[in-house]
């Protein structure tokens, strides 16, 4: 009896250790994949693009919004970004400047052109809809590797392409999500699909990425993103146009003064 229980104990301990190790193994494999995927956007220096957002409601009616975006890579920290709205006309010239940080919450400023006012905003409120779309500010902001913990789940084909599937859990307590399941193709390590699970772990939205093109011989950028909200059945498509990298932007293009003259 005694022997058996010791044997059992040892066996259980081995199982426990093994599962711990494999968990650790899954975690490190997940992180490894995330790092490889992130490499595809590393070294972009700066970028500019125009974006068209198509919002489709439950009945299939579509409205469009246009905006311009500028991004700057910051050595050792998150990116700086500036988004300026072009249409609809009542928000033309409204701009959002954000400094994303790897290990702390982002800094964000809103520019209101009618009042000529710059307003610092609490970046905690990033889980709300972005311009009435199915995207949130969180979905569109810089996805730094450090902002999540990872777990490798399995390999699976998606549209006939082999993919790694990893789970990532946002570390920011103000994230709108409990987890995201990410499909990353095994050939180029490009994000193909993300399933978003809300605060109640309900599968709320699915995002897909397509039209990848390679720039500067190393940077991969999707030209089309689409997100479907499974709860309200609404859809948002984001189309990137006039994508350019290494355009000569600097910190000066992401300053308070540049925010005031952004349009």
């Amino acid at each position: 009896m005694k022997n058996i229980s010791i044997k059992k104990l040892v066996f259980l301990a081995i199982i426990f250790l093994y599962s711990l190790l494999s968990l650790a193994d899954d975690a490190s494999k997940g992180l490894e994949i995330a790092i490889l995927a992130d490499k595809n956007t590393e070294g972009f220096i700066d970028s500019q693009s125009s974006m068209e957002m198509q919002l489709t409601n439950r009945k299939g009616n579509v409205v469009t919004r246009e905006m311009k975006s500028k991004r700057l890579e910051v050595a050792g920290d998150g990116d700086k970004s500036l988004i300026v709205f072009e249409s609809p006309r009542d928000v033309k010239g409204v701009a959002i400047l954000s400094f994303s940080h790897k290990n702390s919450s982002d800094d964000q400023w809103l520019y209101l052109p009618a009042l000529k006012r710059i307003k610092r905003i609490a970046s905690k409120n990033k889980s709300g809809p972005f311009l009435g779309s199915e995207y949130t500010f969180e979905d569109l902001s810089s996805q730094e590797v450090e902002k999540f913990s990872y777990r490798f789940l399995r390999d699976e084909d998606l549209n006939g392409q082999p993919n790694h599937i990893i789970e990532r859990i946002p570390l920011d307590p103000y994230s709108g999500y409990t987890k995201q399941i990410v499909w990353i193709d095994t050939q180029n390590y490009l994000i193909q699909k993300v399933e978003y699970y809300d605060r109640k772990s309900f599968h709320l939205k699915t995002g897909t990425f397509s039209g990848y093109k390679k720039y500067l011989d190393k940077i991969w950028q999707a030209s089309r993103m689409e997100i479907i909200n499974h709860q309200n059945k609404k859809k948002t498509v984001l189309i990137f146009k006039d994508i350019a990298f290494k355009t000569g932007l600097s910190d000066k293009d992401f300053s308070q003064n540049s925010l005031k003259r952004s349009r």
Partner: protein
């Protein structure tokens, strides 16, 4: 109608900017415009027999150009307003006629423009560059264009703005048939200036602002013609009128905003000398946003702001709730109360807006004034009155449709 008063130095600026326009190779050129139609409905006739229904339209075209290298920016934006009832509410103003040049580590902004200072929502203590177009709206956020030369230095230690303000503008006040108006007419055609140069006096201002992580700070100083004139009673035949008196003031301001999780804690304070005794005034409070409440996309923003002003025995406080529906039409609703604990006056307001299609927007605004004493014409006693006494009959609902051209 208030004519466009262009003094000599302003004319020199216009010339300079036109020269800059004509010697630049242009990149982007934009021609835009806004047309608004406004209807205000008051619950009662005014104390002086003013009508219940008031309407006006505003037209503001805008021409914008950018130089090819992206270093020079020009904008011209006049604003015209015509009111069906009140001539004093008519306006011809140059909101912008400016040339911005971006240098290596500085910017110059020359011409007529607007600049906002401040962090709070319900009162703007520090904001002083532009004169308030007080008849446009009750919240005082509409401004007149200010001629200036602004040098802005942006460095590691923050942004330092230096301003030479070329002349100053006079505040707008409602006329005899206008609403909301005071029991006595403000004679905007006969202002009193302390400075012998009157509205042509060149004023100076300086402001430093920077942020340290989650803390935003700004310190400013203004020296020149006040934007907030005192109203001096004067005999006008058998009755009394008020003359705006623009004293030379010195005002130092401090702005602070601290972000802590979903909270924005705010403080604006000034100290001003030149209009009687030196006084201090401050507004402090917070804004807190709850996102996605009741499992919808609705955001609720809470605003509480407390006021102190040495010139008043008790200042009103403000509490408001902003509903952001985050829908396709960007629907917003702000409900609020201004209350004064010593006089018992409360002032309930509602502001809402909604986009209509891609090119227009509908706004509504309503005010209900409570707790003041009713005023009868010339019996008004300035010394005994509460601030809102003369607004007792002025409850109104305003609707505005803006079309973007």
């Amino acid at each position: 109608m208030e004519p466009l008063r262009l003094n000599k130095s302003v004319k020199a600026y216009i010339f300079l900017i036109l020269v800059a326009f004509s010697t630049t190779t242009y990149g982007e050129i934009e021609l835009l415009g806004e047309l608004s139609i406004e209807i205000r409905n008051f619950q009662n006739e005014g104390l002086f027999g003013q009508k219940k229904g008031h309407s006006s339209y505003t037209f503001s075209p805008e021409l914008y150009f950018e130089s090819e290298g992206g270093k020079d920016f020009f904008s011209i934006k006049p604003k015209f307003r015509e009111d069906a009832e009140d001539n004093e509410r008519n306006l011809e103003d140059l909101q912008e006629l400016q040339w911005t040049h971006v240098g290596e580590n500085y910017e110059t902004k020359i011409g007529i423009r607007k600049d906002f200072w401040g962090v709070t929502e319900t009162a703007h203590r520090v904001d002083i560059i532009n004169q308030t177009d007080a008849v446009e709206s009750f919240d005082g956020e509409d401004k007149l264009g200010q001629p200036m030369i602004n040098l802005s230095l942006e460095r590691d230690w923050g942004v330092l703005d230096l301003y030479a303000l070329i002349g100053s503008r006079e505040r707008t006040y409602a006329g005899k048939n206008g609403r909301l108006r005071m029991p006595f007419i403000v004679d905007t055609h006969n202002p009193i200036y302390e400075s012998s140069e009157e509205e042509n006096k060149i004023d100076f201002a300086i402001r430093w602002n920077h942020y340290y992580g989650d803390l935003e700070l700004a310190i400013s100083h203004f020296s020149g013609n006040t934007r907030e004139p005192l109203l001096i009673p004067a005999q006008d035949g058998n009755s009394i009128k008020l003359l705006p008196r623009y004293d030379i003031i010195d005002q130092t301001g401090l702005e602070a905003l601290y972000i802590i999780e979903g909270w924005a804690l705010k403080l604006e304070t000034i100290t001003r000398s030149g209009q009687g005794d030196r006084f201090t005034a401050l507004t402090t409070g917070f804004e807190y946003t709850q996102t996605g409440i009741f499992e919808t996309t609705l955001d609720l923003g809470w605003i509480i702001e407390l006021n102190h002003d040495d010139r008043e025995e008790h200042s009103p406080h403000a509490i408001g709730t902003r509903f952001s529906f985050n829908d396709i039409d960007d629907s917003q609703l702000l409900l609020g109360v201004l209350w004064n604990e010593s006089t018992g006056e409360t002032n309930v307001f509602i502001e809402g807006s909604k986009r209509i299609g891609a090119r227009s927007k509908l706004s509504i605004e309503g005010f209900v004034f409570n707790g003041g004493k009713k005023v009868k014409g010339n019996n008004f006693d300035f010394n005994k009155a509460n601030p809102l006494d003369f607004l007792q009959e002025e409850d109104f609902l305003r609707m505005e449709l803006t079309i973007f051209l």
